[in-house]
Amino acid sequence: MSVADRARNVLSRLATASGTERILISTAALVLSVLIGAVLVLVAGRMTTCTAGEAVYYFGTGFCYDPIAVFDRLFLGALGDPFSGGWSPNGQFAVTLRETTLLIFTGLSVALAFRAGIFNIGTQGQLVVGALATALGVLWASSLVSGVVGTIVLIPFGLLVGAVFGGLYGAIPGLLKAYADANEVITTIMLNFIATGVALYLVSGVFKDPESAANQTVPLPEFAQFPAVLFGARQDFSLVALAFGLLALGALYYLLEHTAFGYDVRTSGVQPEAAEYGGVDAERTVVASLTLSGALGGIAGAMYVMMVLGTFQTGIPSYGFDGITVSILAGNNPLGVGIAALLFGVLKSGTTVVQFATDVPPQLVGVLRGLIILFVAMPEFFRLLARGLPGIGRGPESAATDGGVPVDGGETDE
């Protein structure tokens, strides 16, 4: 097959109706949640008191908060104001990409496990373990090398350490599931708490940076951190890391769709009995998938340490949980994870801009995030909407009117 043929193939698969529909639906969901969010902003704005001079006026009524400003800041702000002329790669856009990069890895971690039929809630814990291991490992190794050579050696080394330890931590629920039949939802939630607890113990004790009041390890030397390329160093973002992320997206997609191992994973995910029949070793696949998933989580941790903080510090943000949302929004599809991670990166980074630029309580963005997810999750709603609302009544109406216990059940009822 020629390259052109292949490209055509790919394009034709992308242009399928369902793909277009998914994009349309996601857009509609975004728009709808923005509308509802705007109403929320207005209502909240009515409940707050402000001076007349600060109010904005819509429909002849004054509101303390301006929804247009909120959404302008949320989206355009996160992108570094591309239309204002003064766009620079050093601005908020870099923060957005930084968040996106981390979410790509946690999203992939969750996606891989989900595709294998494993509900890995433990990416957060795997991230914490990977981050801590990376910090300690790189610290140790940074006494051996330095300078540019140090960067070239230590970054892959740090990622490797993060992947290995995250992977090992992911293997625990894997082994428990495969060989002790222990439900991974329970074990991974528990392991999250354990990872946080043990990390706190270690970095408030033996591995604590004596110079700092924070519970953190000694900071990594500059050369052991991701170098800023094109983008300014201040936003703690490195294009190199994003490139790694994109590489990982492609690699996982290839792994799942074009390799025998991926086929094994997907088969076990949707129908374990059939997988077993097809010669898939169920136990090994469970352990391997969770290990790999943990490794991706661990890499996210390594990136957090080597790109964002430059040290391991307790209180790691919940990238692991956000990864669940990212993955599900993406339909657990590695390529979709890229887009979902960008959307979430925008929301996370935009939140800080909104906070800075408006008086709206920052929790509002959290609500918006929930609404977007909710609407994206209900494509059926938009399909009905598109069809002009005829069949909409069936489900929801009965809920609204007779939500209680069905009373007309059995024949012997009356």
Binding site: A44, M47, T48, I121, L176, A180, D181, A182, N183, V185, I186, T187, I189, M190, L191, F193, I194, G197, V198, L200, Y201, S204, G205, I324, T325, I328, L329, P361, Q363, L364, V365, G366, V367, L368, R369, G370, L371, I373, L374, V376, A377, M378, P379, E380, F381, L384, R394, G395, P396, S398, A399, A400, D402, G403, G404, V405, P406, G409, G410
Partner: protein, 343 residues
């Protein structure tokens, strides 16, 4: 069968272990065993475990209803949060603690209704919708608090207080069961009631059938949709009771960070999985967890020489260990799947 015998074995080993510990504690009161034995036999530990159980167990019972009917409600955390705030808010504006309690339950039920419409009516993915419910509540409750009170934390309102049953409350150890907050008694009623619904009523069977084989229920002429709506709404009511109990017991809503609910909704999921969807089993698994948490607090306070950060994680470690021994929990066959009557 194998499963039950393992369970029995684990139970037996646990009992033997506890007895040995108590004996060791008697023999050497100053050792760690002595401290542990003291804590284990203290009515204060039991009382503490009960208090800690309330929100978790209510939410877990709610989770059972939803999941048994085939709708995985991962948004329990959100229901707890919204109820915890609403209860305080309503109690604050009306001045009535129990009015506030009802307000919390209503708020949680409304959010559950939204979840139901979205997942059952519009066939949204249950997991995403559940996460969305959590995120919405996690934003909305502190946001509302900020708007109403100018702070994510509410002011203090009256609490539900506690009720002591005369005589019974004086029984050693178990007396703690009879000198507790009203929510604890309501929890007992809810556990028994849930058990009754599942084991004895037609509706309980429909819920089970709707989660195991909705088509069987449908072809038997019962509307799966309505059963699922009802079950999800019940989960909203129960989680609402848990959230309201949590905040009204303290008389305040705390909305910073993960809010005062702080993951209890997720622990609830663990609890009902661990309790194998049985209300009574779930109650005991909640008590196991809360008991370990209470014990952890006591041990930390008494300073037994193990770093505090590590003592704090014992409940989580124990759950994993027990699970590794007891093994699998079985999800309802159709949990997480949409059901549609054909045509």
């Amino acid at each position: 069968m194998e499963r039950y015998s393992t369970r029995a074995l684990v139970a037996a080993v646990t009992v033997v272990g506890i007895v040995a510990l108590l004996l060791a504690g008697l023999a050497f009161p100053d050792s760690i065993a002595g401290t542990l034995a003291d804590a284990l036999t203290s009515r204060f530990t039991l009382a503490s475990a009960l208090r800690l159980s309330v929100p978790i167990a209510f939410a877990a019972l709610g989770g059972i209803f939803a999941e048994k009917s085939g709708v995985i409600n991962i948004g329990l955390e959100g229901l707890l949060i919204i109820s915890a705030f609403s209860a305080i808010y309503v109690a604050d504006i009306t001045g009535g603690v129990w009015v506030g309690y009802a307000g919390g339950v209503v708020a949680s039920t409304l959010l559950a209704a939204l979840f139901a419409v979205v997942t059952i009516g519009f066939r949204a993915d249950q997991i995403i919708a559940g996460l969305a419910v959590w995120l919405i509540a996690l934003g909305l409750a502190p946001f509302a608090s900020q708007v109403f009170y100018g702070s994510p934390n509410s002011p203090t309102v009256a609490t539900t207080g506690s009720i002591s049953v005369p005589v019974l409350a004086d029984i050693p150890f178990f007396g703690a069961l009879f000198s507790a907050s009203p929510s604890v008694y309501m929890l007992f009623v809810a556990v028994a009631g849930s058990w009754y619904v599942f084991e004895r009523t037609a509706f309980g069977r429909w819920i089970r059938a709707s989660g195991e084989n909705p088509k069987a229920l449908d072809t038997a002429g019962v509307s799966v949709t309505r059963v699922r709506y009802a079950a999800v709404l019940i989960s909203g009511v129960l989680a609402g009771m848990g959230g309201a109990a949590l905040s009204l017991d303290l008389g305040q809503f705390t909305g910073n960070g993960p809010t005062m609910v702080n993951g209890k909704g997720f622990i609830a999921i663990v609890a009902y999985l661990f309790g194998n969807y049985n209300p009574v089993g779930t109650f005991f698994s909640t008590m196991l967890f809360a008991g370990l948490d209470a014990l952890q607090t006591v041990l930390q306070t008494q300073g037994i020489g193990v770093p505090r950060q590590l003592i704090r994680i014992t409940p989580f470690v124990v759950v994993i260990l027990v699970l590794a021994l007891v093994g699998r929990t079985r999800l309802p066959e159709a949990a997480g799947e949409h059901y549609e009557t054909e045509e």
